[in-house]
């Protein structure tokens, strides 16, 4: 039995279509072909109907349908795609395992939040994005960074606090940024990333429509990842409204792993079905099995295509699970063992592996080769991070303002930031 007891809340009969045809149902879309009267009539019909969405098989007992173009579920992926997905998930998993090892050896410190178990969500979405698309994440951001293309070396060095890290050692585990890969950060504070992502999406739409810097393939898409706890935060709702109001090219991805440190999602939320909050604001809401990378990918293809076309935002709720505690300091005593066992049996990597072998897309030994390659990559990343230098002390004052001289001129007429006594803090200012 799934711990996701929202299964009891959903009303039968199972629904089959997805909330797709916004043009006819969404009253906010200004479509000249639909007169106002019809729109309000349609609106009242829409309000009477239960909002539709794709469901995971855990919730309903049905396999999901993701896109109107392909009626079949789990559309077969070809070998190339499958191997890319496999490699990315293995990279995420092995990297996080190595993080745990390094943490217990004292090489990294602070608050480290690992992503084990949720790889399908990151891989499923981010592997569909291009370099120009933005990703905004939370404090559980190592794997998002890796999927987006940030080198494992850079991420590991950042975790160790070295200058060669992606943020020069100033960000740490929870603040991975990369301008080359358009990774707009890790955010320690929940919900803070969502408005930032909304702004980035606006910028993309503005460049496309006003500045006419069009890309023939469509708008740059922003994907914002956040958790179930964040969905009770005001910033989330504010951004759903703004994104739909301005039809921004953004995908809101909820990584619902059922727990916010020690608070169970079901006990903290009046309506635990987060996908429903999308239609409440006028955008489609999807619920997908976040432990199955192929299902996530199907939904992601549709959501990202929607955004790229300019049709506006989508809310996707991925039911997933973190195998480890909230952070490496969390003893993880509150979650029941059978819940953990249930999800451990649905390990996304194992699922993809058995899919690949079943469909004969690759042999066991080829997968082994991939795993060894990743092993070596991670070992190399650790060595690189180990041998990198710590940031020099002068870096402490850098990047507060654009101009480090923003600290002003001291009594001796020199720039205060150049005064060695300044860093000592004997503030005879």
């Amino acid at each position: 039995m799934s711990a996701f007891s929202a299964a009891k809340i959903l009303s039968p009969p199972p629904f089959v279509a997805r909330f797709a045809s916004e043009k006819s149902l969404c009253p906010f879309l200004s479509s000249p072909s639909v007169p106002a009267l019809t729109r309000s009539a349609l609106r009242s019909i829409r309000l009477l109907r239960t909002p539709l969405a794709v469901s995971s098989d855990v919730v309903i007992g049905q396999k999901p349908l993701a896109s109107s173009s392909s009626a079949t579920q789990n559309e077969d992926v070809d070998r190339e795609v499958a191997l890319v997905l496999y490699e990315d998930m293995v990279l995420g998993r092995f990297f996080e395992d190595m993080c745990a090892q390094m943490y217990y050896r004292g090489k990294m410190f602070g608050f480290v939040h690992l992503y084990n178990g949720q790889e399908a969500v990151s891989t499923g979405f981010i592997k569909l994005l291009e370099a120009r698309d933005c990703v905004v994440s939370t404090y559980r951001d190592h794997v998002h960074a890796l999927s987006k293309g940030v080198a494992a070396r850079a991420v590991m060095a950042e975790l160790f606090g070295k200058t060669t890290g992606c943020c020069r050692g100033q960000g740490g585990s929870m603040h991975m940024f990369s301008s080359t890969h358009n990774l707009l950060g890790g955010f320690a504070f929940i919900g803070e990333g969502i408005p930032v992502a909304t702004g980035a999406a606006f910028s993309s739409k503005y460049r496309h429509e006003v500045l006419k810097e069009s890309n023939p393939n469509g708008l740059d898409v922003t994907v914002a990842f956040f958790g179930d706890g964040t969905c009770n935060n005001g910033q989330f709702f504010e951004c759903l409204n703004m994104a739909q109001l301005w039809k921004l090219p953004i995908v809101f991805v909820v990584e619902n792993n059922l727990w916010a440190i020690g608070m169970s999602h079901v006990r903290a939320t009046s309506d635990p079905e987060i996908w429903k909050k999308g239609p409440a604001f006028g955008m489609p809401g999807y619920h997908v099995d976040g432990m199955d990378v192929l299902k996530v990918r199907e939904v992601a293809i549709e959501a990202i295509a929607r955004a790229r076309r300019g049709d506006g935002p989508t809310l996707v709720e991925c039911e997933t699970y973190r195998f480890r505690g909230h952070s490496l300091a969390d003893p993880d005593e509150l979650r029941k063992p059978d819940e953990k066992a249930h999800y451990a049996a649905r390990d996304p990597i194992a699922a993809l592996k058995s899919y690949i072998l079943e469909k004969n897309l690759a042999t066991e030994s080829e997968l082994k080769v991939i795993e060894e390659k990743i092993d070596n990559l991670i070992e190399d990343a650790v060595e690189f991070a180990d041998s990198s230098p710590h940031p020099p002390r002068s870096q402490l004052l850098e990047n507060v303002f654009v101009d480090p001289k923003g600290f002003g001129i001291g009594p001796d007429g020199k720039y205060r930031c150049e005064d060695p006594k300044f860093t000592e803090g004997t503030a005879q200012v």
Binding site: F109, G110, F111, G161, G169, Q170, G171, G172, M174, H175, A188, F189, I190, G191, G229, T230, N232, N233, G234, Q235, A260, I261, G262, M263, R267, A268, T269, L334, H390, P391, R393, Q395, L396, L397, V400, F407, F422, T423, E424, G425, T426, A427, Q428, V429
Partner: protein, 355 residues
Amino acid sequence: MAMALRALGRRISHSDRFFSSLSEAAKPPSDGKLINLFTAINQALHIALDTDPRSYVFGEDVRFGGVFRCTTGLTDKFGRDRVFNTPLCEQGIIGFAIGLAAMGNRAIAEIQFADYIYPAFDQIVNEAAKFRYRSGNEFNCGGLTVRSPYGAVGHGGHYHSQSPESFFCHVPGLKVVIPRSPRQAKGLLLSCIRDPNPVIFFEPKLLYRLSVEEVPEDDYMLPLSEAEVIRQGSDITLIGWGAQLSILEQACDAAAKEGISCELIDLKTLIPWDKETVESSVRKTGKLLISHEAPVTGGFGAEISASIVERCFLRLEAPIARVCGLDTPFPLVYEQFYLPTMNKILDAIKATVKY
């Protein structure tokens, strides 16, 4: 027992205002057990909920005990109606707490880390602080107490180490209280909860396990807005609060070896702060040094400095020194360079004394 008597002796020896305020402070505290800070706070919360049936404790993750274990056992004893988890929305938590307080309840809200208090800043500044004032005393949210762990912890980084106390000190209508040790914390927290004004209680998270002291098991309160002279001296006055006091004590010891006698004051309540005690101390020594973890510019040390200059200008023999955090966001790796360490304070003590 000896420790308790010594503590009592210290209290009697300074300001007689102690006796005119709460009489509990004058009774010798009964022998307590050695406990740490989070246990003391836990005891205070138990007593507060015991003595007032309309008091509530809530916040993120408080039901299982909280991420720092300050709320262990409360749900089991008082039930889920009085001790409950809130969703992750600081603005909502504090706004909701203000509403509870306005209807005559004691709302003890927890903000999981002081770094996360900013979404609630609007509610605290615009609503809690001004409730009594703008309703002409029709309503008030005096029953509001906001508890939050603050301060550097060694590995916290940008968002688990901040000291935002000075933002709240700028708001008339609020009280800000910071304890330095378990015994202080229990007494001060009970005073804050029972004080008929909204109070923000910052707990130094570094000391949750590290600071251990004998704490009486009974219900006792320590007066607010009274600073305490922890150590008598004659050469220079040092002021601090919270975890910084242990650093200041180390600096005092080191300075004593060099023949400088330091007077150490724990401010305890930041607003309204005890100007008289500080002024009388500065009149004795003629020099002042203030130390806090928050960045120096605009930190609360600036207010203390300006007020003391106004009151003691002719008595001061040296500029007032502030040894505080640097004017940067709280850094990740270079915490030890950012913080006001013992060496920095010692340097400043010597520079001030030799001015």
